[in-house]
């Protein structure tokens, strides 16, 4: 497993340039690493540390705080079945059992073909739509065991490829700021006046 690809290093450097301090790019860079390999590898963390001038321990420390960064391999599809109150009352366990049976793995496991990882998740903020689950953080609302089996079969066959990208992909449209369009990074210690927009609004400009 790998350090960041050349293409991703270029992207990483563009992101680093958006911040006054390289360290600020840590989390966006972890996303790139996770997008590249589906999870954040040790080598990628070392590479990120080199790129932003911190120690690998700092990268690990910051990254592991966030539940959505995975530091061991996960399947192409990460299925999070909500297990909190509303969903639990409305049949989350049945969804989980259906998924376990269909995938042949237990909660927390990954299928041998590396396609699926099954997790029980905490509240996904969709209590009105219970029971719900997420595949790579894409919702399935008010779902049933039958639908879960259908969902897994659709994912296997690739019918949902357009809708659900592999784990780690944040978005398929990438923000890109050409070098000449950015305002440029300024060291906070060099800032002596308030931002332009504050003065603009104080003078009765755009509110």
């Amino acid at each position: 497993m790998a350090r960041l690809t050349d293409e991703n290093v270029t992207l990483a450097k563009e992101i680093i340039d958006r911040y006054p301090r390289a360290k600020s790019a840590l989390i966006p860079l972890l996303h790139i690493a996770q997008e590249q390999d589906g999870w954040v590898t040790d080598e990628a963390m070392r590479h990120i540390a080199e790129l932003i001038g911190v120690t690998p321990a700092e990268v690990l420390g910051t990254g592991t705080f966030y539940e959505m960064f995975k530091f061991e391999p996960v399947g192409k599809y990460l299925i999070n079945v909500c297990g909190t109150m509303s969903c639990a009352l409305l049949g989350a366990d049945d969804l989980m059992h259906a998924a376990e049976e269909e995938l042949g793995i237990h909660e927390g496991g990954t299928t041998d073909d590396g396609l699926f990882t099954l997790h029980r998740a905490e509240c996904q903020a969709a209590c009105t739509e219970a029971p719900c689950l997420q595949v790579n953080y894409r919702y399935r609302f008010r779902t049933t065991p039958v639908e879960v089996r259908q969902l897994i079969s659709d994912l296997r066959s690739g019918r949902l490829d357009d809708e659900i990208p592999p784990h780690g992909t944040l978005a398929r449209v990438r923000q890109h700021i050409p070098a000449d369009k950015g305002v440029g990074a300024v060291d906070p210690s060099q800032v002596t006046s308030p931002p332009e927009w504050i003065t603009a609004s104080a003078e009765g400009g755009a509110s």
Binding site: D42, A57, L60
Partner: protein, 771 residues
């Protein structure tokens, strides 16, 4: 301060606090101790542990607030004993103990543990928790010196804050979160900070323990004595802890002028060398069958005879004394008196690896001056490697103060990332680089913005001391009002120089003495705790000198390379075995304490000098260490004072030859762990030396077509050495760096000192592929 002080009320008492001071600190000064785990006066407050919650009323009614996070304000009322405070503190302790194992009887911290102590003083007495505690693998190595027991950790952030804020080596960090939060290194990247031992000292529980002390003693069995570390010349204040006549650990003491409580790992752990196998315990005399143990009387008779004979036959100029910077001020004074009495002019506490004593004649600065200067100019070796705690103080001045560093270095250093300007120079051209830098308007403006302190030492052992000193003199002339903090490294080198062991003339320094010895002009060479074979930068000269000297008398605590073949070996007491005082690099005189007895019949150096003087018919007028201390006090060297002796500052001019066929500058400097006796005979530290290698720019390796770790041959005008090469992109292409004194597999083979000649101003080399 007093007119700005803030009045607050703590438990009904009115006290005055300094503006910006935290309530916890103000209350403590007033005698009201507030329990705490995460708060540490030398680090930023983080409010992690919540143990210091007290009721604070700022006019809006009493509220529970963490006293380490709340600065004092006028009229504030603090109650550290109210029922609410007590209830909150008991609650926090109960929570902290929810996961903390109650394994105090087998925990090294037991007996000196803030958690244990405060559980008794501020705890509820019993816990309501019956649940299983959190479990982790029991102690894991996070470095070769430090072990971590995560079950005991209360997540106070002291160690991680120390590593990040103080040491600048954030190699440990909190990982995971919530109940799973733990202190951890990166996988396979140990906490190999030069300062890791401090984390074990400041850990408020038994989570971090230092291997050299683990399971050696219980705190209540330890005897303690305040002393001073003499591993380097920073002079950190320490407490020596011993039990049953063995030193078991050193702990840092917070000395506001010097070390702020911190120690480096070399200083903290090299006490192991006191009880090492290689100690000399009896006087030894060389015979046909090797060294034979003998009595003091016999050894002293022989030494006296040797000295008398050479005085009679060839005069005092045929006797040389090298060393003395590893002892106390008293040792150095007694030896200087002996030399004076006998008319010996050849004495030098440095081994050709420092700077001329004239350095001490320049206007001097203290560590405090350095830490408060507007500009610190570094013309010195890497402080992080050689004078580690001075590095911490300077780093703090830059990171938390407004000091700016202008660094002149051939290789970069541990302070490069904090330097305002880091300017590279090659061997011997520091002078011209300094001129060019000082011509810069920004640099001029910075230098004239406030006090300037120059930290001056021998940056490169492959460049002669005269060349390096000339650059310093040039800098001092160019910068008005600058003061110097001497960065000479040996523990008591400043004390030894000032006590009278400085060479009488430039022609009586160690290099001249060794040259004379090599030419057969030295009858008796006295090694006063020194090891020229290992420490003198010019290896060939050192070998020739020890072979050429008539007789070698070595006064030493440990067997070393130069002692193996000495005619007489006199066993000397080492630090923690003798009483006296030491002088640090700023001239501050501090006490050293005797805590354990010497092994065998070893004696302090001063006793040997006094007895030799007596046998040679001179009375030094002292018979006890107190007697010498009185003499020293009369010249200003009393404990607690800053002792400066004026020196002549003249020095020869030097010319550096242009590059010939050797176009790579050789840079040789020391790193923290080397083959030196204190490190090599401390089992915990011996394995930390990196071993021999030459660092070069990666492009050079590519050009030679070799891989990292392959052998290259370095050739200078004076010799050659084969060393494995390692790429280092901090170096220029025409610079190669080799760490001095690294232990080698085989003596002589691959020793960088073979390339250095003490008669050459600079050393330049060629790098060749070994086919």
């Amino acid at each position: 301060m007093s007119e700005q002080s803030v009045e607050i009320t703590v438990n009904g008492k009115t006290i005055s606090a300094e503006p910006g001071e935290m309530v916890i600190a103000a209350a403590e000064r007033a005698g009201e101790f507030i329990p705490r785990f995460c708060y540490h006066p030398r680090m930023s407050s983080v409010g992690m542990c919540r143990q210091c919650l007290v009721e604070i009323d700022t006019g809006r009614g009493p509220m529970l607030q963490p006293s380490c996070m709340v600065p004092v304000s006028p009229g504030m009322t603090v109650d550290t004993e109210s029922d609410t405070t007590k209830q909150a503190q008991e609650g926090i302790l109960e929570l902290l103990l929810a996961n903390h194992p109650l394994d105090c009887p087998v925990c090294d911290k037991g007996g000196e543990c803030p958690l244990q102590d405060q559980a008794f003083s501020h705890g509820p007495g019993e816990s309501r928790y019956i649940e299983e505690k959190r479990h982790y693998e029991k102690p894991i190595d996070i470095s070769s010196l430090i072990m971590l027991d995560r079950e005991r950790c209360v997540l106070c952030d002291r160690c991680t804050r120390f590593a990040d804020e103080v040491a600048g080596d954030p190699l440990i960090h909190f990982v995971e979160r919530g109940n799973a939060t733990q202190v951890m290194t990166y996988p396979d990247e140990p906490f190999s900070s030069h300062f890791s031992g401090n984390t074990a000292q400041i850990c408020p529980v038994g989570a971090l323990t230092a291997k050299p002390y683990r399971f050696k003693a219980r705190p209540w069995d330890l005897e303690q004595a305040n002393s001073t570390c003499t591993s380097c010349s920073v002079g950190c204040e320490i407490s020596v802890h011993s039990s049953r006549d063995r030193v078991l650990r050193y702990q840092g003491i917070d000395n506001d002028d010097v070390n702020w409580g911190w120690l480096c790992d070399r200083g903290r752990f090299n006490f192991e060398s006191i009880h090492a196998e290689g100690r000399v315990t009896e006087p030894l005399i060389k015979t046909a069958d090797g060294h034979q143990a003998t009595s003091w009387n016999a050894a002293m008779s022989i030494t006296t005879e040797l000295l008398n004979e050479s005085l009679a036959s060839a005069g005092a100029s045929s006797i040389g004394v090298i060393g003395g910077s590893r002892g106390t001020n008293e040792d150095a004074w007694a030896w200087a008196q002996l030399c004076t009495a006998l008319g010996i002019e050849r004495h030098d506490p440095q081994l050709g690896d420092g700077l001329p004593a004239a350095l001490l004649g320049m206007p001097r600065a203290t560590i405090r001056d350095m830490a408060s200067a507007a500009t610190v100019v570094l013309l010195a070796p890497d402080l992080k490697e050689e004078l580690p705690v001075l590095y911490l103080r300077l780093r703090d001045a830059v990171v938390n103060g407004s000091t700016r560093i202008i660094e002149f270095t051939p290789t970069g250093s541990g302070l490069t990332r904090h330097a305002w300007r880091s300017i590279r120079h090659g061997a011997g051209d520091a002078g011209s680089v300094i001129s060019a830098t000082l011509a810069d308007a920004d640099v001029q403006a910075q230098l004239s913005s406030g006090p300037v302190v120059v930290v001056a030492g021998r940056g490169n052992l492959a460049t002669s001391a005269d060349v390096e000193f000339a650059a310093l003199r040039q800098l001092m002339t160019a910068v008005d009002g600058a003061t110097v903090l001497p960065a000479l490294r040996r523990g008591n080198v400043v004390g030894a120089l000032q006590a009278g062991l400085a060479p009488t003339t430039a022609a009586s320094d160690t290099t001249s003495t060794l040259t004379a010895a090599a030419n057969g002009q030295i009858e008796v060479l006295v090694l006063l705790g020194s090891d020229p074979l290992a420490d003198f930068p010019d290896r060939e000269l050192a070998i020739a000198a020890l072979n050429g000297a008539g007789r070698v008398v070595s006064i030493t605590g440990h067997m070393n390379a130069s002692t193996v073949d000495a005619d007489v070996v006199l066993p000397a007491a080492v630090m923690s075995e003798k009483t006296g005082s030491t002088t640090n690099l700023e001239g501050r005189v501090a006490p050293v304490a005797k805590k354990v007895n010497t092994p065998g019949v070893a004696r302090a150096d001063w006793m040997i000098a006094v007895e030799l003087a007596d046998r040679l018919g001179h009375d030094l007028g002292v018979s006890s260490v107190e007697g010498i201390s009185e003499q020293l006090t009369s010249v200003g060297a009393s404990v607690g004072s800053v002792w400066n002796v004026p020196f002549e500052t003249s020095a020869p001019d030097v010319n550096v030859a242009p590059k010939g066929g050797y176009d790579v500058d050789l840079i040789v400097s020391r790193v923290m762990y080397d083959g030196g006796v204190a490190t090599a005979s401390s089992p915990s530290l011996a394995g930390l030396a990196n071993g021999r290698a030459v660092a070069v720019n990666p492009a050079v390796l590519e050009q030679l077509g070799i891989d990292s770790g392959d052998m290259v041959r370095l050739v200078s005008e004076h010799g050659s050495a084969e060393l494995p090469a390692c790429p280092d992109d901090r170096l220029d292409r025409d610079t190669a760096w080799v760490a001095f004194g690294q232990p080698g597999r085989e003596s002589g083979f691959g020793d960088v000192r073979s390339l250095i000649s003490s008669s050459a101003p600079v050393s330049r080399i060629r790098i060749e592929r070994v086919s």
